[in-house]
Subunit: 215 residues, 2 copies
């Protein structure tokens, strides 16, 4: 099993957490996506692996799987212990919903190629780019905070007392929000869960600063 | 079961297709999200249902579920026949990957609130907004087309000969691409699958033009 990723990529970070939680061994290949003048994702070899030119990609058993949430579900099916989805259809739907709120509505808007389009094609200033970034983080966390704070299903983690794909998406999103100095004071529940996760060895081992390709 | 949606919303359209494919009965509630001066999603009642202020929302069994892909998985678990995911972890990962390529990397960038931010806050022209829209459709379909065309797993539909969540995401994305006059001539496989789906009663019944709230 070979995981192509980048230390600072949110979606790669999610997969590193899951690998560590589940104790799955995978060779990790660094794809430097923000190299000045064009990242490694534009090389022909990578283009063949993932025509969408995004990390992460998982090579396993002759397949090249894309999209981090699809890969998390793949591992949940092939390596079910410990689980990263709860039992029960309703609880699973809540957890997937929380994960997708981050993976669909926050992260893609603040992806590197989107920020590059803003400043390049649209000629947005650095300040306008930062405001854009913080706007989508704020909208997302403004919704996540009450959904976590007001639900009896929230426990030590987003759902009960074991980490799930919701926490796996939350932690990299908070990491990135901190990197862009987004105000986080209004999100006590998000930050409590983030800090709880950070204390777990699996989350700590997956941190961007601890990856071999960290600059 | 009560589904809150909007006739033209891609994510609502996905869920209508799945309801029809699976033969699930649900009351449909129209949430007019593009009303001049502020859509129905900003009303207090809806904000309580989904603090993210997005459609669709599924009310079922005392829960309010958000995010269309989470709801598709929920129905797959609670109403497994006919399935909208294939058998086998690798095939399921491929299908989820294709669906997420649309749901994460294409659709959120061209969402109403993003387009409003471009023209409002960033002062982008209508032409620049259209170019933005077409850019992300092109990037997404440029990747999807070879992934579908070059895979032996592609059949009549995205995966084999039965519709899955990949087709359920693909059809509304093509519908929207057509609405914004995106060039589609370079995507023969995508268009073949789209046209095959359109002939199925479940996809036809879910079409935006056939919903009671269509203007």
């Amino acid at each position: 099993m070979k995981l192509h990723g980048f230390f600072r990529s949110s979606a790669s970070y999610r997969l590193r957490i899951a690998l560590a939680l589940k104790g799955i061994a995978a060779e990790q290949v660094a794809v430097h996506i923000s190299r000045p003048g064009g990242g490694d994702q534009f090389q022909p070899g990578f283009r063949k692996l993932n025509p969408q030119l995004l990390v992460p990609v998982l090579e396993d058993d002759g397949h090249a799987f894309v999209q981090s949430l699809a890969i998390l579900e793949y591992w949940e099916e092939t390596h079910p212990t410990p689980p990263i989805l709860p039992e029960g259809a309703a609880a699973r739907a809540r957890v997937r919903g929380l994960a997708l709120m981050i993976a669909c509505e926050m992260h893609p808007l603040n992806n590197l190629r989107v920020l590059n389009y803003l400043t390049g094609t649209l000629g947005a200033s650095e300040d306008a780019k930062l405001a854009w970034y913080r706007h989508w983080v704020k909208l997302g966390f403004d919704a996540l905070e009450p959904m976590l704070a007001n639900s009896a299903e929230t426990g030590i983690f987003c759902q009960g007392d074991a980490p799930t794909i919701a926490d796996i998406c939350l932690v990299p999103q908070v990491f990135n929000a901190k990197r862009f100095d987004c105000p986080l004071g209004d999100y006590p529940t998000i930050m409590r869960i983030y800090e709880t996760c950070e204390k777990l060895p699996a989350f700590a081992a997956a941190h961007p600063s601890r990856q071999p390709d960290a600059a």
